[in-house]
């Protein structure tokens, strides 16, 4: 037990990799055995991640990073096998293990060709994603970040739709271009650290303790920004996303939207902000990031309204939702950051579930055209009900998870500027519009198309792929306190790092008057940051 406790992260990380090995010995003909094995491995991986839930709050309460594992890997360049998690990565890891299992479960009938390779790719992908969220060594992080590209590329390119080749290559080259820039940023920090201290290290915690010259911070910030923004994807870099989503198989889309996109926002929170505090708080940079986020929110929503293909609609809605996440990050206050992480989890739940829902109908009808569907609530009541809940959670209806995330982000944005919040609210309104309209067009009305009249409702397995996500959505919506508790510490540490006086300023502002809301106090922050940077 002690061993399992000390190496819990490695165990979670390597279960999928080790699980790949028996897969090679199962005959390719025996598809059923392959499916069982793939599902069992993913489920075991999920079970292995469960102890984290119980241990997390009790483990080393005074440490920022918990469950640390650290070994030398390539000493001559200073790369280490260094894992550790805080509240932010903890939530994203849980999201990954849950969604990973559900995505694999959902592929039971939809994948009929090259089944063995399919499950092998998913297991590899799972390990890559988990590694990204666990690594505290930049070199290790980069390795996982890149490794995860290959299986996703194959998943889109082999099991994808008609334009899979184009989508797969586009996805690959976009992400790769971004990550090479990110690598350049990492190397810059690495060499600068060596020049200043004489040590070669990729240890993120060590690098965070270092004070970087301002000029270098700007360069590295933009290098990281492109790398992460392509992954998120932020507004001008988002063009790969609709293609990749539309062509990917259902489970691929679920993982792509649910987890992969979070790697970009995670990168901003974990690396950009704490490593480069002066650059991240520079008013001009903040403005650029916020404007791009708001454009993504509005533009993503408007484009969603225009879509005829369900999957494309949800893909563009991801652009909009992720815009909220980046807006929250660059509000640079506790509310914004907490909201952003919660919203990342929410988006994983809601959009993951939405892609599953689209996949379910696609498997039955082999089309995703909205106009081909209609009145499905008459023939598939269970499906319609689950779709309703998921859709409402995506819109941000109170009692469901989306509301909590969006509300907290808006709170954070409002504390900086009411204009930001106003734009974001417009995005929420548009979001409600396209989702409700989608639901109305596909579920309500008379069911006239004869092909739709014979559709079967969901099977038990299919229901089970959605139920955990619905439960999680209600949990966050009704009782989000545990999630905020977990996030409190890491988020406050980041804010403290960005603006050492933030909490002092907030306290002194609270003391004298209850009068105008928190806004003026927090408004000082960007101006203060400007002062610090010059």
């Amino acid at each position: 037990m002690q061993f399992a406790h000390d190496h819990i992260l490695s165990i979670i990380l390597f279960i999928p990799v080790v699980g790949m090995i028996p897969l090679f010995f199962i005959s390719g003909e025996n598809k059923q055995a392959t499916r069982w094995w793939g599902n069992v491995v993913m489920f075991v991986d999920f079970l292995a991640s469960l102890p984290l839930v119980f241990w997390f709050s009790r483990e080393a309460p005074d440490q920022q990073f918990k469950f640390i594992e650290r070994h030398n890997w390539i000493p001559s360049i200073g790369a280490q096998y260094f894992l550790g998690i805080d509240g932010i990565s903890f939530l994203l890891i849980m999201l990954t293990t849950v969604l990973g299992f559900l995505a694999v479960l959902s592929s039971w009938t939809s994948i009929q060709e090259r089944v063995k390779e399919y499950y092998a790719m998913f297991l590899l992908l799972q390990a890559g994603m988990l590694g990204v969220f666990m690594s505290l060594d930049f070199f290790l992080f980069y390795v996982f970040w890149e490794v995860m590209l290959v299986p996703m590329y194959f998943i889109i390119g082999v099991w994808g739709g008609p334009r899979k080749l184009y989508a797969a290559i586009k996805f690959f080259l976009f992400t790769l271009a971004g990550s090479v820039l990110m690598l350049l940023g990492i190397l810059t920090l690495y060499f600068r650290y060596h020049a200043d201290t004489g040590l070669y290290t990729f240890n993120v915690l060590e690098l965070m303790k270092h004070t970087w010259p301002l000029n270098l911070q700007y360069w590295v910030f933009w290098a990281f920004m492109v790398g992460f923004a392509i992954k998120v994807p932020m507004f001008p870099f988002h063009t790969w996303l609709p293609d990749a989503h539309v062509e990917a198989p259902t489970a691929g889309s679920v993982i792509l939207a649910g987890v992969l996109l979070k790697m970009g926002t995670y990168g901003f929170i974990r690396f950009s902000l704490p490593l480069l505090p002066q650059a991240s708080t520079n008013p001009r940079i903040v403005k650029v990031m916020v404007v791009l986020s708001i454009i993504a929110i509005i533009y993503g929503a408007l484009v969603s309204l225009m879509q005829r293909d369900m999957k494309k609609l949800i893909a563009y809605s991801s652009v909009s939702h992720l815009g909220f996440c980046t807006l929250g990050i660059f509000a640079l206050n506790p509310h914004g950051l907490q909201g952003s992480v919660i919203q990342q989890v929410n988006h994983g739940i809601s959009t993951g579930a939405l892609f599953l829902i689209v996949g379910l109908i696609y498997e039955r009808r082999h089309t995703r055209e909205i106009k081909e569907l209609g009145g499905l609530s008459n023939v598939m009541p269970v499906y319609a009900t689950l779709f309703m809940i998921v859709m409402l959670s995506s819109i941000g209806l109170p009692l469901l998870n989306g509301f909590i995330g969006e509300f907290t982000i808006l709170q954070g944005a409002y504390e900086v500027s009411w204009r930001w919040a106003a734009w974001a609210v417009a995005g929420i309104v548009l979001g409600a519009a396209y989702m409700l309209w989608l639901y109305q067009r596909t579920m309500f009305g008379p069911c006239e198309n004869p092909k739709n009249q014979v559709l079967k409702d969901l099977s038990f397995r299919e229901i089970m792929t959605l139920v955990p996500l619905v439960i999680w959505a209600f949990w966050i919506g009704l009782y989000p306190k545990p999630f905020f508790n977990v996030l409190d510490k890491p988020v406050n540490a980041i804010v403290e790092r960005l603006n050492p006086d933030f909490f002092k300023a907030a306290q002194s502002a609270r003391a004298p008057a209850m009068s105008p809301p928190a806004a003026p106090a927090s408004l000082e922050m960007p101006s203060h940051a400007a002062g610090a940077s010059h």
Binding site: Y142, Y153, F154, L165, A177
Partner: protein, 483 residues
Amino acid sequence: MITLQTADLVRILPEIVLSIFGILVMVLEPFVAAAQKKLLGWMALLGVLAAATATVRTSFEPGLAFGGTIAADEFSIYFIYLFLLTAGLVILGSIDYLERNHAQHGEFYALVLLGTVGMCFMAASTDLIMIFLGLEISSISTYILAGFRRADRLSNEAALKYFLLGSFATAFFLYGIAFVYGLTGTTNLLGLSARLMEPSQWTTFARVALVLMFVGLAFKLSTVPFQVWTPDVYQGAPAPVTAFLSVGPKAAAFAVLLRLFLGGFASAGTVSFWILWISAALTMCLGNLAALWQTNVKRLLAYSSIAHAGYILVGVAAGGSRGISAVLFYLVAYALMNVGAFIMVAHLSGTGERLVQIEDYTGLAFERPGVAACLAVFFLSLAGFPTTAGFLGKFYVFRAAIHSHLIGLTVLALLNSVVSVYYYLRIVVAMYMREGKTEAATVELPWPVRTALAVSVLGIFYLGLAPKLPLGLSTLAALPLPK
């Protein structure tokens, strides 16, 4: 007058062993029945293993031999092992290839062994004349090997082209040596560096000599603008020979380049630096851009090997012990992935090398998942993906380059490696993502080939995941060269 001593012989023991085996194979060839010619291949492989054992003996007796013309130091031993690895893999991959193409002749193996002797001498020499001899030995063997499919027009063209341009380049090199001798009165590298210590001694003549010698080597390295022969020769030569050509002579030329530019001519400073800088930049860009348009896998790999020469030159330009050890590490990684890829291509191409277009690989992964996975590993490693040797090699070179403040060159190299991913992936796309039946899927892979491929794949992951030992060795091997 140089007297022959035992220590001298021990210091060239690997070369002696290889030569003996090479000559033995040649002598025994007429006495072996046509059906048994395979045995000669195994004998050559035995020669490689014997030479590897002999190298261990050599490493116990480091030092200069033959009046300071040969050095048995960490640097040369590292390279000898690299050449032996390459030769061993190539022989393993050739035995069945020659059988299938009805070209099973003992000379092939003898030439591979003798070519390897030449390369070993190139890496071990500390005298310009010895370097030249090594260059000639290895070149002449490879000229013949390139034309080994005698009945094939392309193979003949390749051999002739390689021979004509190669001789021209060696002449340049020799001309350079003559200039140097005229200027300094010595051909010994140590003597040279002693006489060319001061920057003021770098007269126009000395610079011309430097450029001439670089041109001679650049031909072997196939750096721009001396790369024109590469695609034609790589395409025309039998694929296992291409595997040999693309690694052996190139690595040997890099060994000479390192000894010359960072050793004997270290004081040339800016001249040699800018030569290296410009040819690195041009080679990377042209290699990668040209590779984008290729439809023939062998030509594509030829341009990719040009691009890789560019990356390695970045490491040479970086210089210092970091740069040298990065180059050394990269060369091993490059040897594993390139030889592996070419051997695979050789065997997928069928009799007479008919199947060498990218579309010939369409749908290969459906029928031969293992073969496709192997090839995918080679290409991903060539593209520089993490967990593979290719990534760490590049990382190490770029690290050395940034350390020497070659920021521009590093950025260029990074951009190039992004571009390169596109053409490597084209083959992966063909294998995995296009539907189709391919004749290549029917090819049998005999166990010697499988062994060679397994060694390459495992080596790639070993270097990529646990590179502690190889990195240590490459650092050690960089020690003998002056900083």
